[in-house]
Symmetry: C2
Subunit: 145 residues, 2 copies
DNA sequence: TCAGGAATTAGAATAATTCCAATTTAGCTT
DNA sequence: AAGCTAAATTGGAATTATTCTAATTCCTGA
């Protein structure tokens, strides 16, 4: 029953971890997999629920550990909006997030290269930005949902 | 001993609250004042400490209540970076934040009109953004500090 | 196969924030 | 100025997401 990744995902997964000298465990694979399978923005809680269906013995601590590892490897991204629980995102391309105040749903928003470099240019002399986060909140009525 | 605002601040403070039918209490004035006096990015905890020096009886709940009120009125801004405690900011002009990973300090970063409107333009059809947040993190060695 | 470090586990601990019920206060009315 | 009422404040308990801890289990290389 233990979750298995598609072979292409599995290759990315294994090689990325190995590069950092980390072990590709079944829990890590499962956490990674459930985030990729449903391309939403699950919380650690959501992920825990999904993982438990495949690996019932998994603990919360493990989910957090795995998430930290995966984020550290750049396999998933962390999304923090206001004070709400951290969410995790399989979309690795540079993008912003939009949160609908009514539904709580989070949507990816593409950032074009030009706007991205303008934003990066805002960082003043003497500062070196490793990370950029852009998020919007408001109301959204997406065409298909 | 109870804190008093400068008269120009006091006018803004009183009229802004009155517009919303809210009472300009001494606790609210004090919270507002200590944020404006030291133009840094204090946490609720920092603010609590400062307020206590002027109004020793003040409780934590009140500080949180006042902050919520002031943010709701637009008198101060709330700054959330990752999971770290919420910070409060007296700078109301549109600006981004830069957090230095080493020192934990937060700096304001100006956003020019042009870049701002480009960012706003990223929001797709069917979505209405009420709020935009841009933040950077990395290392910073500002000239004077 | 075995040793030793890495990963996982359950549950306790932490930290920021919110909730609650009781008390106090501000701003009318008279 | 005194009384009234809703709004604000208070202390402490509760909540919630997350992290820590110490014990156990699991990989992986020798």
């Amino acid at each position: 029953m233990s979750y298995s990744l598609t072979s292409s995902r599995n290759q990315t997964f294994i090689s990325t971890l190995r590069e950092k000298g980390l072990r590709p465990t079944k829990q890590r694979a499962c956490v990674y997999g459930v985030i990729l399978d449903k391309r939403d923005h699950p919380t650690a809680d959501d992920i825990y629920d999904r993982v438990k269906r495949h690996l019932p013995g998994t603990s919360f601590a493990t989910v957090y550990n795995c998430l930290e590892t995966l984020v550290g490897c750049g396999l998933v991204r962390q999304v923090n909006m206001d004070r709400s629980p951290t969410r995790y995102c399989p979309n690795l391309s540079p993008h912003a997030h939009f949160r609908c105040i009514q539904s709580g749903k989070i949507y990816d928003v593409e950032i074009d290269k030009d706007t991205l470099s303008r934003m990066q240019a805002l960082v003043p002399e003497g500062f070196e930005a490793e990370n950029l986060d852009l998020s919007f909140s408001g109301t959204g009525t997406p065409p298909h949902d």
